[in-house]
């Protein structure tokens, strides 16, 4: 069973969202997602300042197995990216909820967070997919 921290929110496309306060969230991919992908070898992230609407392609994760799009779980502007991933993409596998984070976004519409899944909801979804 994969690790699904209860203090985070989730979307069905296997990204997690951490509320940092002041309308800022951190985004990454879940333990379940990294496990499905296998060893991650490249991560392509957007530029700081780029704006995204919910569902837009935010980046690409390439693993030994496949290339996989990462979708913006919420609308907003990128204010930071995890530059460590350029040289150490394996952080996505070893610490998906910590050092393997992808981007920070300043939300343009905080009400969108009402649609996110909590840990139980995401666990059920993973269960249903397996």
């Amino acid at each position: 069973m994969s690790d699904i921290p209860s203090d985070l929110k989730y979307v069905a496309s296997h990204e997690w969202i951490r509320d940092e306060g002041d309308g800022v969230v951190t985004i990454g991919i879940t333990d379940h997602a990294q496990d499905l992908l296998g060893d991650v070898v490249f991560v392509e992230l957007p530029e700081v300042g780029a704006e995204f609407a919910t569902g837009d392609d935010l980046g690409v994760v390439e693993s030994v197995k496949a290339a996989s799009d990462v979708y913006a779980p919420l609308s907003g502007e990128v204010i930071a990216i995890n530059e460590e991933l350029e040289d150490a993409p394996e952080l996505v596998n070893s610490d998906p909820y910590g050092d393997g984070w992808f981007v920070q976004i300043r939300l343009s519409d905080e009400s969108e967070t009402d649609d996110l899944l909590d840990a139980d909801g995401y666990a059920e979804l993973c269960e249903a997919e397996s």
Partner: protein
Amino acid sequence: MGQQTALYQKHLQMNAKLVDFGGWDMPINYGSQVEEHHKVRTDVGMFDVSHMTVVDVTGADAKEYLRYLLANDVIRLKERGKALYSGMLNETGGVVDDLIVYLMTDPDVAGEWFRVVVNCGTREKDLRWMADHTAGFDNVALTERPELAMVAIQGPNALARVISVVSESRGKLIENLKPFQGLESEGWFFARTGYTGEDGLEVMVPEEYVADFWQALADAGVAPCGLGARDTLRLEAGMNLYGSDMDEKISPLSANMGWTIAWEPADRDFVGRQALENQRSAGVKQKLVGLVLESRGVLRSHQKVMINGEEAGEITSGTFSPTLGCSIAMARVSAEIADTCHVDMRGKLVEVKVVKPSFVRNGAKVFS
């Protein structure tokens, strides 16, 4: 639930992630495919390859039968245990399967016989094909050996590590094995062959002993490795994968297997010979090359290869090379390809270098 090898319980104990592979439940990795890959390049790893099909070919006509069945010529096997890589072709020159054949006795003696190892995914087709082509040979017997489990131990320290866990007499036999030679010792078969581009052994063991052998190797520090690492290792070594890099519609001449065709003696008839001769005189239009992507991204099978904006072939196998730190691929392309071309990678054209399809041997990069 698929078929299980005699090592299935060991795989579960060692936290393997299992996938379906040709109807078998096989380990894809035991945690990290990339770490397993590095372990084989720098030390030693082991693979359960018990799903592969072993067929013994015996009888007074065994040699003449194989000389007809295979594009390579078993007459080249001049010493007990020597191994030969060959394609088994159909009448149109396509590849039914690729295989290894070992001479199990001294050459040219009464009772001379051979052992053939073919792919698991093609087992039924191959057995039927082999049986059908015994017609015309009075004395050939084909015996499948499903009771033999097989473990591949690969890497610079493979031989030493296996010697440390087997009996003294078996150790002596391993010490004296030449590359591409396999010999029997008290019911076990040790072959200095593999699918990784490293030194190593493929060991056939009666299945009741294989779990203890596997455990002894693990206790001696040999890392269990899955099919994931097996694929990145073989691709770095430039070794073909049946079904991806060639199949029944592809000529060995377009699959970097020209070296496995024994044209001489010219009067040896083998299945597919006429078709290959016709292809050779007409000129071969496509060849298998290696591609190297020096920028970021991973080449994947079926991506299109482009020359001057025109489609000129496609990738047959692509991956990230853990040893080189960049992506590599094999591609079947127009024979006129230059030393660079482009690949359509998810809608984006990226430039790649064209090299011979061999990237890493004995831990080191081989192309320039």
